[in-house]
């Protein structure tokens, strides 16, 4: 190990750079698609969780507890290996003809992340003064319309910073998708390592990309906080 020859050119140019670059692309696609779907699902679960209807509220609560408290890797394996057994053959055939690994990863990441987002949205909603709901109901809006036009637009604004944190978690969590063969960044780094034995360089490159994604997004959130929410960092 002492006379290990560093060779950064392996990962900064040529075929292996292309592999890593394609991994970055898949990681970003996986994360972006999942965060959008997770947001929509999270919104739905949050509204259900706050519903006046007891069974609806209970279903949302069970969903939250279940998906937040089981390991993400197990959930990924469940959708990839387990869902086969319960789906009709026709659906399976169709899934196999598409990129099923990618789809399973999106489903797992979406559902897992939606549970956290739902809780973030709920605490956003709880921080809106109850007088806003009263004003909306007094105008004649139903509960759901009040949520739609008055409460959620305010709550989601407050939820943006925690939402971005969920996105950062999601980008990192997406590396688990390599276990079912999704060719994202970590998968590609592993490939480069097994072809070139340049594991140090390959995983350093992957690490740098994950950190870069985090830094860029964190910087964007800070700008948002200052410009939109007028929150300034304590001196």
């Amino acid at each position: 190990m002492l006379n290990y020859q560093f060779d950064w050119s392996t990962v900064t140019s040529g075929k292996y750079f292309d592999w890593l670059a394609s991994g970055v692309k898949v990681t970003l696609q996986l994360s972006a698609l999942s965060i959008v779907l997770a947001f929509i699902l999270g919104l739905l679960i949050a509204v259900m969780r706050m519903s006046n209807n007891k069974p609806v509220r209970w279903i949302a609560h069970a969903y939250l507890e279940f998906f937040r408290n089981t390991p993400l890797l197990v959930q990924i394996f469940f959708w990839y290996f387990g869902s086969y057994k319960i789906l009709p053959t026709a659906v399976n055939d169709w899934l196999n003809s598409t990129n099923f690994e990618f789809a399973a990863a999106v489903i797992a990441l979406t559902i897992y992340t939606s549970a956290f987002i739902a809780e973030d949205i709920r605490s956003g909603v709880l921080s809106i003064p109850k007088e806003q709901m009263e004003a909306a109901r007094s105008a004649g809006f139903s509960y759901l319309r009040s949520m739609q036009y008055i409460i959620l637009p305010q709550a989601v604004r407050l939820t943006v910073p925690p939402l971005v944190n969920q996105f950062l978690n999601l980008a990192k969590n997406s590396s688990l998708a390599m276990t079912i063969g999704v060719m994202e960044l970590t998968y590609q780094a592993r490939q480069v390592e097994s072809y070139t034995f340049k594991g140090f360089e390959a995983f350093t490159a992957a690490t740098v990309v994950y950190v870069a994604i985090s830094l860029v997004i964190t910087a964007l959130v800070n700008i948002y906080n200052e410009k939109v929410l007028n929150i300034h960092k304590a001196a």
Partner: protein, 248 residues
Amino acid sequence: MITFQGVHKWFKSLHVLNDINLHVTSGEVLVVCGPSGSGKSTLIRTINQLEPIDKGTLTVDGMDLLDKKTDINKLRAEVGFVFQQFNLYPHLSVLNNIILAPTKIRKTAKRDAEEQAMALLERVGLAEKRNAYPSQLSGGQQQRVAIARALAMKPRIMLFDEPTSALDPEMIGEVLAVMKDLAVSGMTMVVVTHEMGFAREVAHRVAFMDAGTVLEEATPDEFFSRPKHERAQQFLRQLLTPMHCECP
């Protein structure tokens, strides 16, 4: 227009409304006053069912509030409510605060709603603030926008719960002026307020509440010059002594 018959309400063991009997006819202005905690807010909030009642009958604009078939959202669209703390929607501009309910509930075309909103803003003297956000307005301006917002639904009844209690003294007049204008135009109004000048000038009747009951109901003249109950006399004396102002 509004009829309370033997209305009761409890918050747990607290008997907050005790046998309320009141009648407000079309075009009438009823002022409700009384010490803090006497149940004034609860009373006015039952009229658009922000607080449901437990016993008795309450009819508003011909709708029976205890009837399961009454569409409560429809009733609320006909009844404007103005809060002590204004409760404008902070994420919307003044104009959008006003047109939200007309466009979404009444399905008024956006352009028509905006035209009507501008007319209302003229009426409350805030046309130039149409693009401002609530946080950029003074309390008095916010309350006038809140009144315009309620009027945009063309309500048949307007309810005010201490609309000037949260305002700096110099802003009270501008809000009372808008309310007076509204009363003169023939709007049916129930107003919880301690502004006795407004009550004298504008109200057709005054109801005095104490401990969940309407102790006294009279014309402003009778009430202010010859209050019958000891509690009402005491209340009026305290109002005239600024040190003991009950206004929260």
